[in-house]
């Protein structure tokens, strides 16, 4: 690990910009998609309602009806936009020390769809979040 604090200002800015857009570069290439984006979104909405809303909330705000039972609280998806790889790892394996269990019965297409939907809940992405709430485009 180099002494980052003595790096040139220019480098620091570049690294910072790169880190800031990491979450956004993880778009699914067409060849890896199990279905077109609209179908992923709709299937994801259904899988989310079935498996996730109880804790993470109907709109992903971390305020599901069971959320108050758990510490740490289930996270809000308004403020995080997990990558497909991270979401898959968490859904398949759970998060030790939290109420996030593993979901061994979810299929790969279902995991991809629900991740697509969860990513659309990210509040900074106005277009996608309006889609998630069913608001007119």
């Amino acid at each position: 690990m180099p002494a980052w604090h003595v790096s040139p200002e220019e480098d620091l800015r570049a690294v910072s910009a790169y880190a800031a857009q990491l979450g956004r570069t993880d778009q699914l290439p067409e060849t890896e998609r199990f279905a077109p984006p609209d179908a992923l979104q709709e299937a994801g909405r259904r899988v989310y309602a079935m498996h996730c809303a109880r804790c993470h909330g109907e709109r992903g705000a971390g305020d599901g009806k069971d959320a108050s039972r758990y510490l740490p609280s289930p996270p809000s998806f308004k403020g995080m936009r997990p990558s497909y790889a991270a979401a898959k790892r968490i859904i398949e394996g759970g998060v030790p020390g939290t109420a996030m269990a593993s979901w061994p019965l979810l299929t790969q297409p279902e995991i991809q769809a629900v991740t697509h939907y969860i990513r659309s809940l990210y509040a900074a992405d106005r277009q996608d979040s309006s889609k998630a709430t069913g608001a007119p485009q």
Binding site: F34, A35, A39, L40, E42, A43, R46, V47, A49, M50, H51, D66, R69, Y70, L71, G94, A99, M100, A101, P104, L105, L106, T107, Q108, P109, E110, Q112, A113
Partner: protein, 279 residues
């Protein structure tokens, strides 16, 4: 003096006792929360999820032509309409019924399947090969036309099933074959509709059409045809009883499983082409 001393000691100890009691209460609360958390983190099912087998991992597929055939077979198995599009007529994949790539107990597992054939078929009334059995799935559950004999798709599926079965390790019990045993009951489609709306429609949709490529259709043009095993109420009931609803498998009673299967069977399905009875 003595009393005074005891009194003093008691006074000194009191805050400690209070603290200890508070701590114990806190601990009890934390423990209760943990228990609650653990309890709800587990599926609320009365049936344990079989964990004797793990889904196949594409990274373990060997290289070379056999490996390529296995990989194509896995792709066809899990995304049938995409990788065998010329031959299938609906939107279902093999893995919609053969759960977790054909490795899940009571989810019509296929680990070891190559060794089960030739097998006497109740449908055909004679011995059939594994290839014949695959054609039955393609023409019924996939509502399609038969794969070319010895073509790349058939070769790929057979290779995949061979590979799955080679994965069997003596230390790990192979997944339990077929479906769960269920008592013979009569399903009521009217009661079944209520069960469906309560437990199934969130994913499969009120219209039973699912979402192509992700959530399986149960009736209509995207679903299996009338000749499929899943169109038999007893078979679907056995599948449902053990595997559905996916967020709480085992929560339906056998009667509810029969009712919902009767409801789904009462909905329209594509006609089966009896020209394919040769398989």
């Amino acid at each position: 003096m003595k009393l005074n001393l005891v009194h003093r000691l008691l006074l000194m100890l009191t805050p400690l006792t209070v603290l200890a009691t508070q701590g114990a209460r806190q601990n009890v609360r934390v423990a209760a929360a943990r228990t609650q958390k653990q309890a709800s983190a587990e599926p609320a099912s009365s049936l344990p999820i079989p964990r004797t087998w793990t889904p196949p991992d594409a990274k373990k597929i060997p290289s070379g032509p056999y490996g390529e055939a296995i990989l194509l077979g896995m792709q066809i198995f899990t995304q049938t309409p995409k990788y065998a599009s010329a031959y299938v007529g609906d939107q279902l994949s093999c893995s919609n019924c053969h759960l977790q790539g054909g490795t899940m107990s009571y989810g019509i597992a296929l680990v070891g399947a190559p060794k089960w054939f030739p097998m006497f078929s109740e449908r055909a009334k004679h011995d059939i090969s594994l290839e014949d059995r695959i054609q039955e799935c393609i023409t019924r559950s996939e509502n399609g036309s038969p794969l070319p004999h010895a073509g790349p798709e058939m070769n790929a599926l057979l290779s995949y099933l061979d590979w799955l079965s080679e994965q069997a390790e003596p230390r790990i019990e192979a997944p339990i074959r077929g479906l769960a045993s269920v008592p013979a009951l009569n399903g009521d489609p009217v009661r079944g509709e209520a069960v469906y709306k309560q437990n199934c429609s969130t994913c499969h949709g009120e219209d039973g059409a699912g979402v192509a490529g992700i959530l399986p259709a149960l009736w209509g043009p995207a679903a299996y045809n009338e000749g499929a095993g899943m169109n038999q109420v007893g078979k679907m009931a056995a599948f449902v009883l053990r595997n559905m609803p996916q967020n709480n498998p085992g929560s339906l009673t056998p009667q509810q499983a029969y009712d919902v299967a009767a409801f789904v069977a009462s909905k329209p399905h594509s006609a089966y082409n009896h020209a394919y009875d040769i398989y």
